[in-house]
């Protein structure tokens, strides 16, 4: 299934709901748009809702790690919610699990950032 993403902005928080398969093809298609969106709206926190993400490989890890490093410089944070078992395994393997904030739901994540 192709990759789609829905974006919502709440103050300085960008919420992304990802659907389908996040691979090299998909990351190449969305990276620039994502960077522009974050720049334009002066985003400091990113919330990724992975509930409907059906597949991800190292390209997705690279995209997330890239945004994480970028937000770190702005003292921002990145919260991942509704993570599936397979994606969780990739996170563990790459060390992302230790550096990202994991929440069970989108509401929890938004509450944590005070924009629920």
């Amino acid at each position: 299934m192709a990759f789609t993403v829905q974006a919502e902005i709440k103050k300085n928080v960008l919420l992304l709901r990802m659907q389908g398969e996040l691979d090299h093809h998909a990351t190449e298609k969305i990276r620039e748009e994502l960077l522009n969106l974050m720049e334009e709206h002066d985003i400091t926190h990113l919330v990724l809702n992975l509930e409907e993400l059906e597949f991800m490989d190292s390209s997705g890890l690279g995209l997330m790690l890239g945004r994480y490093k970028h937000l770190q410089k702005k003292n921002g944070s990145m919260i991942i919610c509704a993570i599936s078992e397979p994606v969780k395994r990739l996170f563990e393997m790459s060390g992302l699990f230790r550096i990202m904030i994991i929440e069970s739901s989108e509401d929890q994540a938004l509450m944590r950032l005070g924009v629920a």
């Binding site: 192709a2 398969e21 691979d23 090299h24 093809h25 990351t27 190449e28 990276r31 597949f55 490989d57 190292s58 390209s59 890890l61 690279g62 995209l63 790690l65 890239g66 397979p86 990739l90 393997m93 790459s94």
Partner: protein
């Protein structure tokens, strides 16, 4: 039931999804578990992506070759390119090692392949190309009675 299939496809990023579908379809008759399916799609995605972005450096008019072999309970996947090759395979396979950090690669592809498969074998010749051969014993495949 033993089976074998051979494919060749262009080095375009759309074919990463195609290759994942191919492996999923190939093993469908063996009733794989969801976990096995995900693992196999992931390793194929890693190997094909590497062929396209590293082997062919993004050139989209080259060929990527994939062979799938099911023999007894073991699935062997071979992905081959005729691209730039690697001079130091051992170094390339280290976790977090990448030659394309500017493309936001994380250097996790080989680590993922080694994690999800029972064996991963890499042969590569500089300027000639790279072959990844990996195999996995599928628990879900019933051994045939004779």
């Amino acid at each position: 039931m033993n089976n074998e299939a051979v494919f060749k496809f262009r080095s375009i990023s759309e074919n990463e999804a195609f290759a994942r579908m191919v492996v999923a379809s190939f093993i469908a008759p063996y009733d794989p578990t969801i976990g096995e399916l995900t693992d196999l799609k992931t390793v194929v995605s890693e190997a094909v992506t590497n062929a396209i972005i590293h082997g062919y450096d993004g050139k989209n008019d080259q060929w990527v070759y994939m062979t799938l072999l099911m023999e007894e309970n073991v699935l062997t996947i071979e992905v081959r390119d005729e691209g730039i090759g690697m001079s130091d395979i051992e170094e390339a396979m280290q976790p977090l090692y990448t030659t394309k950090p500017e493309m936001e690669r994380s250097g996790m592809g080989f680590t993922i392949m080694e994690h999800f498969m029972d064996a991963v074998e890499v042969t590569s010749v500089s300027t000639q190309g790279t072959t990844i051969r990996m195999s996995k014993h599928l628990a879900s495949v019933q051994a045939e009675c004779h």
